[in-house]
Symmetry: C2
Subunit: 207 residues, 2 copies
């Protein structure tokens, strides 16, 4: 598909630009309400004294997510796509000029969607997919494509496990489903509420 | 957009076909894991002695959802789209021949996605969007388009309200957000777990 090919070339241009500016960039994807913003909040809260961070939030509408990041005294830029169900390498370019001088770490939160953003790389060092145990036990099997072009998987909201009757067995199966599709995946269980797994995530990202 | 226009004409053809066959058809949309299948399960469990029901389940992969419906001794047909993030009026046509003789009620569960399916009507009598309170309090404001072309909104998983610290105020605001975007919306709070709101939903659908 020509659009995807053209986008991948622009994504590679972005990757070169980030490298020149000395910025490490991570893309955060995942279905609606899985906890993308919450997990990013946990991570930036821990790293804001170690890095100069900017977060780019993509949504169809509102600046709610960027505003949440700003409450941590961390720079955040909101992109509203109106109707587009995914960010792409071109639509994020205009915000690069807004990155403060000396920015060396960036998280890009994509539109809440587990399907459409997968084909459109942004040029990040690693792609992180976030889903939650409240989505049910079969989300990975139902969306295999979403785990092929991904480096790290975050299984969030583990604090709800007991209440949702989500057993250790269920958690293990989810992790196995991930690795069956893509053996290179790094999987981490987190709770943005209790901060469980956040330190492990930071280690995995080598931050 | 020509594709959308062409699809709407096919959707109208489907609507005529359903009418000829004496079938009432409802489309169920919503983000991944919001409870579409669970709510459909509750409704068909209650109505299977009153109607001859068929459920059409759309997913990228697996027959997990159709298999769940079949456990209720209700006909279910799975459509796998592979990569397509929404059903459309054309892709559902081939399953019409599989509807058992005398079918008079059909639920079509669309792909888990709050954005892309909205433009592609299927020809149903009513469109029902399902999201859950575990998605956070701003899902409606972040996806206004998803509520314009919709008739009924189900706010699911209300049994989790106390555990998620989702107040009555939060619930009221969600309902107001819906009606601000589309005053004609009918909104019902449900729990597929406790069956709360299911009878109200059946009343709203005039079933
Ligand atoms: N219990 C629990 N709730 C969580 C956790 N992480 C996020 N939430 C809640 O889940 C809801 C959605 O969280 P967000 O961080 O907004 O999710 P998101 O993926 O950024 O959502 P969108 O950007 O709208 O797609 C909010 O009400 C959060 O408070 C968690 O680990 N545990
Ligand atoms: N606590 C609680 N859990 C629910 C409720 N409804 C659904 N669930 C759970 O939420 C998870 C997802 O439910 P599904 O019915 O599969 O959701 P879905 O929208 O059909 O999911 P997809 O088709 O994969 O997009 C499952 O683990 C359900 O048991 C509810 O009202 N309360
Ligand atoms: Mg977010
Ligand atoms: Mg389902």
């Amino acid at each position: 598909e020509d659009l995807i090919k053209a986008n991948t070339e622009l994504a590679n241009e972005n990757a070169d630009y980030f490298k020149k500016r000395g910025m490490r960039v991570f893309e955060v994807l995942g279905n609606i309400g899985s906890g993308k913003t919450s997990v990013i909040e946990c991570v930036v809260a821990k790293l804001k004294d170690k890095y100069k961070i900017v977060v780019v939030n993509g949504d169809l509408a509102t600046s709610i997510d960027a505003d949440r990041i700003k409450k941590h005294n961390v720079s955040a830029i909101q992109i509203n796509t109106g109707k587009e169900c995914h960010l792409d390498a071109l639509t994020i370019k205009p915000v690069f000029d807004q990155f403060p001088e000396g920015t060396n770490l960036c998280f890009i939160e994509n539109i809440g969607n587990l399907i459409c953003p997968m084909d459109f790389r942004l040029g990040a060092e690693k792609r992180i997919v976030v889903f939650s145990i409240s989505n049910g036990p079969y989300i990975v099997r139902k969306h295999p494509i979403s785990f092929l072009e991904t480096d790290v998987v975050i299984i969030n909201k583990v604090d709800l496990a007991e209440y949702l009757e989500f057993s250790e067995e269920d958690k293990k199966k989810l992790e196995e489903d991930c690795k069956k599709i893509n053996p290179k995946l790094q999987v981490v269980f987190t709770s943005a509420k209790t901060k469980e797994g956040i330190d492990d995530l930071i280690k995995i990202l080598k931050l």
